[in-house]
């Protein structure tokens, strides 16, 4: 019969003509989610290596940091209590606010260890919230930089203008509250010069504070907050102001006062004449004078070293602990007999 013809024709009938517009997704490793990949797994070896490595890195750093901190010699003297008359807060405030009383206060410091120059002089304020919300906002950066914008005092509440309406420059609470205690140092009869140049950031002097912007109407108000400024010196050279305007992060902070570029020997006695003008008595703030050398890590602070030693030690401990765990309870990785349906066939 037509056997062969039939089968061929049936064949041709069954095979559809090749589709021109097939919707079949084009194959690519990306669309099929088969991109080559690294599949990290926390194998015992990896875990122990990581912990050991961290320990190996952290312990030496911790030791170095502690050593650096120990090398720093620091003299801290709290003078706000000694340099005041009066017992109650009101008496103290009245004393400090009285312009006629003498604010001079003489203290002596003993050098505990040899201090190599440069020796940094800081003042430290406690309990002074330079990060208080209404305080940090009260400034105008445009005014400080640009002499044309001297009248721009927006954002400077409540120190925008003098009572007669003329704009204050530099305006705002921050500038208004500029720290104004002064220190002069001497050893025996010999004065120690304090170099106050270069205590602020160069970037601030160059770009944030204009060299043709001069203070105006500053501290002319009803209430004086702190230091006055010499109106003939441009802002870019008023380094105390520049330092002060870099508001501190925390309520206890230090600000650079100057540098003593002279070595100090152990047991030398330094006499400091302090002009104790700044009013921290109204809010029970402390004032301290700090003389400190520095290290690669900054000032004296044991925390970093201790923290690194702790973390490093902990990592060594964890490395050991994990080794013990791996030895006590060995588990073959990827062993299917641990799969829940193999391990516990009667249910889960």
């Amino acid at each position: 019969m037509n056997n062969s013809a039939a089968s061929t024709s049936s064949g041709s009938g069954d095979v559809p003509a090749p589709r021109r517009n097939s919707n079949r997704p084009k194959y690519s490793r990306f669309t099929q989610q088969e991109l080559p990949a690294c599949k990290p797994i926390l194998t015992p070896r990896w875990v122990i290596t990581v912990f050991t490595l961290i320990g190996v890195i952290f312990v030496p750093i911790g030791v170095a940091a502690l050593m650096a901190s120990n090398k720093v010699v620091e003299i801290v003297y709290r003078y706000d209590a000694v340099c005041i008359h009066g017992n109650t807060k009101d008496e103290k405030v009245a004393y400090i606010q009285n312009a006629n009383t003498s604010k001079t206060c003489i203290i002596t410091l003993t050098v505990p260890k040899d201090m190599d120059q440069p020796i940094y002089v800081y003042y430290q304020l406690d309990n002074f919230y330079q990060n208080h919300r209404r305080y940090v906002k009260s400034r105008n950066d445009a005014q400080l930089k640009d002499s044309d914008k001297a009248n721009d005092t927006s954002g400077c509440d409540p120190e925008k203008t003098t009572p007669d309406g003329s704009p204050i420059l530099p305006c705002g609470l921050i500038a208004w509250s500029l720290f104004n205690d002064t220190y002069s140092f001497s050893i025996g009869n010999q004065n120690l010069t304090v170099n106050k140049v270069g205590i602020s950031w160069k970037s601030d002097r160059d770009h944030k504070f204009g060299d043709n912007v001069f203070p105006r109407n500053f501290q002319n108000g009803t209430m004086k907050g702190g230091a006055s400024l010499n109106e003939s010196i441009p802002l870019s050279q008023q380094e105390d102001l520049i330092v002060w305007m870099r508001t501190a992060a925390l309520p206890t902070f230090r600000k650079p006062y100057g540098k003593i570029e002279q070595n100090l020997r152990v047991n030398e006695t330094i006499t400091v004449i302090i002009q104790n003008y700044y009013n921290t008595y109204s809010f029970s703030g402390k004032k301290k004078l700090v003389l400190s050398t520095s290290s690669w890590l900054g000032g004296k602070n044991d925390f970093t070293g201790i923290a690194y030693l702790t973390i490093g030690g902990l990592c060594f401990f964890l490395a050991t602990a994990f080794t013990v765990v791996y030895l006590v309870k060995p588990r073959k990785l990827g062993d299917p007999s641990y799969l829940s349906w193999n391990r516990n066939p009667s249910g889960h």
Partner: protein
Amino acid sequence: MAGDGLTISREEEEEEEERSLAPLPSSGRHHRRKSSASAASRDGFPNPAHVRHLSRTETERLASSQRELADSNSRIVFIGDPGGSDPRFETPRNSIRTAKYSPITFLPRNLFEQFRRLSYIYFLAIVILNQLPQLAVFGRGASALPLAFVLLVTAVKDAYEDWRRHRSDRIENNRAASVLDPQSGRFLSKRWKEVRVGEVLKVLANESIPCDMVLLATSDPTGVAYIQTINLDGESNLKTRYAKQETMSRPPGEDHPVDSAGVIRCEQPNRNIYGFLGNMEVDGKRVSLGPANIILRGCELKNTAWVIGVAVYTGSETKVMLNSSGAPSKRSRLETRMNRETLLLSAILIALCSVVAICNGIWLGNHSDDLELAQFFRKRDYSDGDDKKYNYSGIGTQVFFAFLMSVIVFQIMIPISLYISMELVRLGQAYFMVRDANLYDESSNSRFQCRALNINEDLGQIKYVFSDKTGTLTENKMEFQCASIRGVDYSGGRVSSRDNGEAHYILAAGKQILKPKMSVKTDPELVRLLKNKGDTEQGKRAREFFLALACCNTIVPLVVDTSDPKQKLIDYQGESPDEQALAYAAASYGFVLIERTSGHIIIDVLGNRQRYDVLGLHEFDSDRKRMSVIVCGPDKTINLFVKGADNSMFGIIQNKVDLSMIDATKANLHAYSSLGLRTLVVGMRELSRKEFEEWQSAYENANTSLMGRGKLLRAVASNVERELHILGASGIEDKLQEGVPEAIESMRQAGIKVWVLTGDKQETAISIGFSCKLLTEAMTQIVINCNSEESCRNKLQDAVAMYRKFAVISPDPFENALTGTGSTKVSMALIIDGISLVYILKTKLEEELFKVATACDVVLCCRVAPLQKAGIVSLIKSRTDDMTLAIGDGANDVSMIQTADVGIGISGQEGRQAVMASDFAMGQFRFLVPLLLVHGHWNYQRMAYMILYNFYRNAVFVFILFWYVLYTAYTLTTAITEWSTVLYSIVYTALPTIVVGVLDKDLSRKTLMKYPQLYRSGQRDERYNLKLFTLTMMDAVWQSVATFYIPYLAYRQSTVDVSSLGDLWILAVVILVNIHLATDVFRWYWITHVAVWGCIGATLICVIIIDCIWTLPGYWAIFKIMGTGLFWLCLLGVIVAGMLPHFSVKALKEYLMPSDIQIAREMDKFRRINAATMEIQMNRFSMLQL
């Protein structure tokens, strides 16, 4: 969407019931389609042209017998007179507009839509709060930036989509249509958008139809037109439509001016694509119009040279436009769960804010005396000369302000970026799902479709799968397998693997060779019997049997050209796959249906062409469950051929026949249905002239009666269908889709319960259950098919007692290890039918059914109506937390698909209703396995991690801000600049989590497919739960403590300024959270590397840029602090100290308490897959021996 899908399903419901009650597959199928096309009644009469149209309208399924067209509620269309059409209602032009926005309305409408999300309102409220001068924590620009960014991204996305819609609208609207010009009487070209209701249009072959039109005339003298509705409902079969004879004779146009043309009254526009109701007044005569007289926009004209019609619905009123709407909106479970945690976070947020506010109040109270003079506070403002309080109005107000300000500062505790990240991640996941070559279906050339974009992750948590049977588990491609003639079984074709060449009938017509498109394996003995012209009773009956199969149907044979010019194929176009299968079977046995015209059919009977006049056709209906034709053969005998369901057929057989033959047939039928075949019985009766005339007059009367025609016709049919000779029965295989048994087995192992809900009868359902491995011999079957509430209750109680009994029997670990069900009971299967469900669902018995059904491993519901399907889904949904998935392909599955948590449509043989209502659509049932096990698992895992991570990373940041606030006299100063605060969640840390959310894979596809049990981690909520959330939050608190306090302690009593320390904190936290993410990434692609390390780099660059702006107080701070050793030591210390707990716990947990996923990951990594399988088999083997 939900609305319109339901509308249609309601309409289908009634018919579905019929189908499910009627095991007559052919008519059932046919019937189901009937409503859509109603094309099938090709009855013939001695005077076909005259009677046909009357009868046709009458046999419409949605016949208007019940619904009368109220004049007040109808649309009046004057044919050829667009101006006069229905003055009461403004009808739109034919332009369509799928675009949502216009350039003017875009902004307000898009914003309005976006702000319907509650979370956006929250963020908007915060932005507004921040604008108040008292509360301005951030600069105005900075505070609005995140919200603006999110809004912008969404708006750009929407705008792009809308622009594409605009473009396609424009193309669509400017297509050309030829419209009759009433003046000249000629057809002129006009753009689609200018077509108006009442205008007369001409459409040529292969053109798209511009609007919904009532047919007036076609190129075919009998008024037939063929259309393809693939764009409308996805069915590729040609549908027939008819022009009314009254208008056919004088089509409007050059010869017949339209001045006296008629008036059409029809329904108001509605979205039912399977229904149309109207009438037409022509020359004073009123003729009724039905769905068969209307062609719809979106269809294409095929095999017809031209048609002329009058536009009745245009533009937005066309049925296709009324039916088009977006994807259904559902909410994923993860997102619902996430809302719970969001509430928790809100509580934490409020707690933090309260702490800040209260502390602020206490501080102010303690220092109330000091603040007059304190330089950093200065309560008074002297600048205006008078003494007034500056920005201070009492402790109470300050506390209140502090609270609101802390809400502003800590706002990102509720992660705004999470919402946009989730959308982007889902988009990415959808991209990969759509493009997955494993989800591409070759046969239908269809890709996977993501219609809903917000429930991707639900796919990883499915516990119950509700599946339709026909078209979902099975292919809905019917294949004739067995015949039983006079009780003799001919199943040779089924077993013989050899392709029987003799079966292919080649018809030579001149030089042309005609051949059926598909052939059926034939039984050699039966072929011999037919060939043998000997007039044995058996041979005669066999011939009559196949003759009945060839003519008792509504198939249209189409002759198709092939590549070989001499050869042509006969393609049987029909609406029911069963009928096609029967027609192809008849053709294979030599009874080839060659031609069908309106009044007669031509059948090639074993080489002789014979003409049969079709005198009458009785459609299938649910009462009779059978169909019949009355034909007049070449020998002028008038025969009635009937085919129908066994129970309906055996009721009307001749009483005198020998019972043994009936019993043998019944036995064969039982055997067939046990094999999973769909059965049907064929009978015939010779009508005497007198009987015929009686029938004919009754038929004419019924047809011409105005009221209740359908009922009368049914009565006429029942009257004539009696005293039949049973010729035999056929068995048609409903072929299983590829890979169904394997897919079901995988899902069973994955802990997914598969329930099959079908309209088929119980035996068929059970046999399909066996053939797809859903049921096994080891299972105890509980069958519930009762006719009263009482008996249902008893059965259910028995079942409860039974499973209690089994539950106490000690479990068989081996069995469970094999099946992987992990249950402790003997596996049971519940088989329940629709009638019982009527008594159970929505009554007190529901609870009992729930208990029994959940105790069973398999549930089979047979003969269920569409709403019952939905009822079963909600039975589970309302009582458990378990996720449900419904999968189906037909309109009868729509309600189920919409009820279930996840609805999947099979884009297959049946219409597109299921796909339109679904959340996802795909080509094959077996794709469910990669979809759930692979993509679902990935999606769930990724999304769960991403949500947790976003919570964590924002919490770390908020806590760092909070710790700092404790050292600022509780005044909400932030050391970190406001820009960094704002950019933190949208730039510094956003990209890696999105990349990981889209790309990360915990396990390879191969492993997931190999161990379906891994899917259970999603069902158990292993990746996102309250415990994990709590742990993550504790980790967040620790990391914030480490990040804040290490620099704090290191820089205590130093000269550090606020900006430098802020820069250190922001860098530390960004690096820390990115490293945290890095330790959790499973797979590192180059993209992941770029995202994670790039993000850290980008952060550094941003911080540097911010610190290069001289107007900000932090100018140059980053360079200053980066120049010191302490900065780097702090950074390193923060990262290591912050990561230590996370890393240690992770390492310990992965080692000591490994999850299945972890072990599989290790297997994945060390490529032990093959070895592992061996081991499992070995284990089993050893257990066997034990």
